[in-house]
């Protein structure tokens, strides 16, 4: 019985000699560089993940990533990126404390060429937004 098993084992080793030699070289390299300890740690990490995660958790997280990804794809398309970049600059540069503005204040602000330009942008966005909302209605 024992001999039978040994014989089979030897047969397998001979059959796969090339693969086993390559494997041994790799194991030696991993051991010498210390990478084998990292691999063992990694395996434990994957094992903990496997043992504690569930289909439900995986689904929830993947859904979150998918939704964020779909939205971010729109915000990072080249044109949107340029405009959002400008919004970012505006927020960073705007160091004034806000003050309440009434109708008169609003009219006065409308004389400012920068405000006029920003309003043009907002109107463009409003137009496109209206269309997008109607398409989804």
């Amino acid at each position: 019985m024992m001999e039978d098993r040994t014989e089979k084992l030897v047969e397998k080793l001979v059959e796969n000699q090339d693969a086993i030699e390559r494997l041994i070289d790799k194991i030696i390299m991993l051991e010498k560089t210390g990478a084998i300890d990292t691999l063992a740690d990694l395996a434990s990490f994957v094992k903990v993940a496997e043992d504690t995660l569930s289909d439900e958790i995986i689904k929830k997280n993947a859904e979150l990533v998918a939704n964020l990804g779909l939205i971010s794809a729109k915000f990072t398309s080249d044109n949107a990126l340029r405009l959002i970049d400008a919004v970012g600059d505006a927020i960073c540069r705007c160091d004034k404390e806000p003050e309440p503005v009434g109708v008169t204040g609003l009219l006065k602000a409308l004389n400012d060429p920068d405000v006029k330009y920003a309003l043009g942008f907002l109107i463009n966005v409003a137009k496109a937004l209206g269309k997008a909302l109607r398409e989804r209605a």
């Binding site: 496997e50 995986i58 794809a73 398409e135 989804r136």
Partner: protein
């Protein structure tokens, strides 16, 4: 102005649009090119999810997504059913309009035709479309034991590995419900082995044996006797069943057949490397719609979309199109309720499955939710 029309809003059409548009965004903005995608429903369906829906592991709403969420905003979307492709006039006729094109991409997919096996609609179930999957979910929930036959009734069919997967998951499903001892599972396949690819057979067949999943090969159903619950085959066999899960025959899209562009199965004759429709310089076909001897799988549509988008963009820019499809396919294979393996292969490389593991199953579970990022061209 150059007009590109993409017909079909499945994996193939959506990905082609999403890969193409960023490459020619300047031309679109300048009004030199228009990309229009015509599809007959306002949402996309994630079909691989049907395999989970039938065991109530994913719900209907999780398998659909508004096509607008998935497409680059520069794509002109038309929700309408195409009735005819007039290749000689370079235009597509829909129920509500006519669309001229300079380039056409046919991505109309495949459809299941259970009616081609007499008695199947009355006597059997399938999970290859929404209605079928929902009906099968109900039947499985009510199943109290007996003989389940998983029968492949025609090739080619979508996702070649799905029949094996459903058998494995079913085995665990019945075990979890304490019904496995009272049940038999029989898997049937039309050719002389349980799957077309030998390395897959070598791995899967012993796994079937271990689980007591029986199989019959050279099994070509001709009709289903719904009253007596029997399958009758070309080989003259009769096989009884209590629950029949069939993989129905498939055909190409109706519009392809009606336009005289399909072969006898309704598949579009397509060059296996360039993906151009044979005989037409300005028509591409990809995804399930083609006659190519590659798997009808979303992953294939994905890899093909990269090629079609690159070549179309090159043609628009006046550059020689050089991208070629290498036959690549990737398929997960669920081998139980919570373990899976996967294969990939191409025209030159045979598949080599890895050891099934829970980890691969988790990756698939995550992908079921993250698939929409693939449609968007991000994953």
């Amino acid at each position: 102005m150059k007009r590109i029309v993409i017909l079909g809003g499945g994996v193939a059409g959506t990905l082609t649009a999403n890969y193409l548009v960023p490459k020619i965004r300047g031309e679109i903005r300048d009004g030199n090119v228009e990309v229009t995608l015509i599809t007959d429903r306002p949402y996309q369906v994630y079909e691989p999810g049907f395999l989970y829906l039938i065991f109530n592991r994913l719900g209907e709403a999780e398998l659909k997504r508004d096509i607008r969420e998935l497409l680059d905003p520069a794509v002109n979307i038309v929700i309408d059913r195409a009735t005819k492709i007039e290749a000689e006039n370079n235009r597509v006729v829909t129920e509500n309009g006519v669309y001229d094109y300079d380039y056409l991409v046919i991505a109309t997919g495949a459809r299941v035709v259970p009616e081609e096996i007499p008695g199947l609609k009355e006597g059997g179930h399938w999970f290859y479309n929404f209605e079928g999957a929902v009906r099968l979910r109900e039947a499985l929930a009510k199943f109290t034991g007996g003989k389940v036959v998983v029968s492949v009734m025609g090739v080619p069919h979508k996702c070649p590995v799905a029949p094996m997967e459903v058998s494995f998951i079913l085995h665990d499903f019945l075990k979890r419900r304490n019904l496995r001892d009272k049940s038999e599972i029989l898997y049937t396949y039309p050719i002389n082995k349980i799957f077309t690819m030998d390395p897959v057979v070598e791995m899967i067949q012993p796994m079937f044996d271990e689980r007591g999943i029986q199989y019959k090969t050279f099994f070509n159903p001709l009709e289903v006797d719904a009253k007596n619950k029997k399958i009758i085959t070309l080989e003259g066999e009769e096989e009884s069943y209590d629950l029949l899960i069939a993989i129905p025959p498939h055909r190409g899209a109706k519009v392809v057949e009606d336009s005289g562009l399909g072969d006898k199965g309704g598949w579009v004759p397509t060059d296996r490397y360039t993906l151009k429709v044979e005989g037409y310089e300005n028509m591409y076909a990809l995804g399930d719609a083609t006659n190519l001897p590659v798997s009808k799988a979303g992953s294939v549509a994905h890899f093909q979309a990269e090629v079609v988008a690159e070549n179309l963009a090159a043609e628009i820019e006046g550059i020689e199109p050089t991208a070629m499809f290498n036959g690549k396919a990737f398929c997960f294979i669920e081998t139980g309720w919570e373990e899976a393996t996967y294969i990939w292969f191409d025209y030159y490389t045979p598949p080599q499955p890895v050891m099934p593991s829970k980890f691969v199953h988790f990756v698939k579970m995550a992908y079921n939710k993250a698939y929409w990022l693939t449609a968007r061209g991000l994953l």
